[in-house]
């Protein structure tokens, strides 16, 4: 392996170690998904289930508690998973800020490796942290579904979830590394962490479906890449539950749930399905990866 390649591997591993060794940081990176879980267990789950059962009764359907419960559980897990794909890379970006604030960047830049190696290593370590912890969260979600006796996922849904995890983590890492790159102080980063950690659950519809929000807010969420992450996880995790409702209860009701719980979006008249969601995330990853390269180049030139 070339000098730069070896240094890239070393630095990526170092950054990842720093993130993973800080147990509190890892815990806080999962705070938003845990809040979703806690809210759901405490009251949101019951509210959703009661609401959906009442709506079903209004349509003249009785029963269906099991199907509705499976649907709501899947919705909650999809929300938790989507939050994790954003909050874990965000917390992993903390190493960048820490190094900058403490002047460690100078120690790293003084070694005879190309200047692109350090920013590239930060990006790779953020992706690696996101994937590693995201994979664990996804595993927990699968165990939850299996243990609750509501495993309704097909093999393609499982691979779909893995694909969504990969692309979502890369996209959010590229975006967040770009944004955090402009931060200089730990305080500013902490503020971003708190704000994003708090609002992300609302913006991607993890706490309550986006369709419950005012029209303007709904439109705003279409421009947040995390909404497409959530859309993908909902499609793969809730499809089985939705099919169960359509088969055993009411296809019309299932269709309305699909829209209400944002399994598909109506983006200014155009329906956004699974392939389009993947494309949006891939474009986000490409766009922000490009912007990261550009800013690294411009910063290097400014220093020169």
């Amino acid at each position: 392996m070339s000098g730069n390649g070896y240094a890239l591997r070393l630095l990526t591993r170092r950054n990842l170690k720093i993130f993973l060794k800080d147990k509190a940081n890892v815990f806080f990176s999962l705070l938003a998904p845990l809040i979703v879980l806690a809210l759901y267990v405490l009251f949101l789950g019951r509210i959703q289930e009661d609401g959906l059962l009442a709506a079903l009764e209004g349509m003249g359907e009785t029963g269906g508690a099991e199907e509705i419960s499976a649907f709501c559980d899947s919705w909650m897990l999809a929300g938790s998973m989507s939050c994790a794909c954003i909050t874990v890379p965000l917390c992993a970006c903390g190493t960048m800020i820490q190094d900058k604030a403490r002047g460690i960047c100078a120690d790293l830049l003084i070694s005879p490796v190309s200047k692109w190696v350090t920013p590239a290593a930060y990006f790779l370590s953020v992706v690696a942290a996101g994937l590693a912890i995201g994979a664990i969260v996804l595993g927990v979600c699968f165990v939850w579904l299996a243990a609750s006796g509501i495993w309704l996922l097909s093999i393609s849904d499982v691979f779909g979830c893995i694909g969504a995890l990969l692309l979502s983590v890369v996209a959010s890492s590229a975006l967040l590394v770009f944004v955090v790159g402009f931060f200089r102080s730990q305080g500013a980063f902490t503020a971003l962490n708190i704000i994003l950690g708090t609002v992300v659950g609302f913006l991607i519809g993890a706490y309550m479906p986006i369709s419950y929000f005012p029209d303007a807010i709904q439109k705003l969420t279409f421009f947040i890449p995390g909404s497409y992450t959530a859309g993908l996880f909902r499609n793969f995790m809730m499809r089985g539950a939705l099919d169960g409702i359509a088969e055993r209860l009411s296809p019309v009701f299932a269709e309305s749930l699909k829209e209400e719980f944002s399994l598909t979006f109506d983006f200014f008249g155009a329906e956004v399905g699974i392939p389009a969601m993947f494309v949006v995330l891939a474009c986000t990853a490409g766009l922000f990866a490009g912007l990261n390269v550009l800013t690294a180049f411009l910063r290097g030139r400014a220093k020169s």
Partner: protein
């Protein structure tokens, strides 16, 4: 002059660092302008600085805060580029061959700024690998340097559990992991207690005996008198005096000489 040391002979007149008319200007923010009591948005930090440092010598850049010492060292270590002029380290230009310059220098900071849960052994290996030192060579150097500075017993102890003195030794040893010809040290004893400061000054003297060239910046007169062979007095980014300690002082103490130079340039009584 041929000098014999326990580490071999070397020619002391061999020029290893040459700064030629270095100039660096920074843009000041509004807050910085207020602090500097100026309305100019730009500040000349280093203004046409030239000097040479030789092998086996310690060269000290002496000056008040804000004189341009750190900026000069940062240019020499390729962390920032000069606006004009150039500097050569072991014959390599900081502008045209920064990689080769970085290979030839060790940049020491007065504190180890790495995470407390890493061990000296891990950090030494990490920075050694970053500098492309081969594994076998790295292991041999680690054994030698750790033994010489008494770090061997603490090699696997977490950095956060080390004493300040030991931490400083670790920091110093890591900065020469790749056996650089030139060691650059910005304010080596700043903020250190007397015991730790002694660790640093002893270390620098030892490096000099090993034939290394050392460039340090300081505003502490006693440090210059104790360690430096040559000294450059910088005031307002300009080289006010440059030469051997004996030539510069001319029978005076470095402190007296410094204030004489300062008064002649600034016209102020300190």
């Amino acid at each position: 002059m041929q000098t014999e040391t326990p580490f071999g002979d070397f020619t002391q007149s061999e020029e290893v660092v040459r700064a030629e008319d270095l100039r660096k200007t920074f843009t000041l923010s509004r807050k910085q302008q207020r602090l500097e009591h100026t309305s100019f948005p730009r500040k000349v930090a280093v203004d046409g600085l030239s000097f040479s440092a030789y092998r086996g010598e310690i060269y000290g850049l002496l000056g008040p805060n804000g004189a341009g010492k750190t900026t000069t060292l940062r240019m020499l270590s390729t962390l920032i580029s000069p606006d004009s002029g150039d500097a050569f380290v072991c014959g390599h230009s900081v502008r045209r061959a920064p990689h080769k310059v970085r290979d030839a220098i060790g940049f020491m900071t007065s504190e180890l700024k790495l995470e407390g849960f890493f061990t000296p052994s891990y950090l030494f290996d990490f920075f050694g690998a970053m500098h492309g030192v081969e594994k076998g060579v790295l292991a041999a150097r680690k054994e030698e340097l750790f033994a010489r500075f008494g770090i061997d017993r603490f090699a696997e102890v977490k950095v956060k559990d080390l004493s300040t003195g030991m931490l400083q030794k670790v920091s110093l040893v890591i900065s020469i992991v790749h056996d650089p010809a030139v060691v650059i040290f910005d304010e080596p004893t700043n903020g250190l207690d007397v015991l730790t400061a002694k660790v640093v000054t002893d270390f620098l003297a030892e490096l000099k005996n090993m034939g290394k060239s050392i460039l340090l910046s300081t505003h502490i007169f006693s440090l210059v008198e104790k360690l430096c062979d040559r000294v450059g007095i910088i005031i307002d980014g300009k080289m006010a005096a440059d030469g051997t300690l004996a030539d510069i002082c001319g029978g005076m103490s470095i402190e007296e000489r410094f204030f004489e130079v300062y008064r002649s340039i600034k016209g102020e009584t300190v």
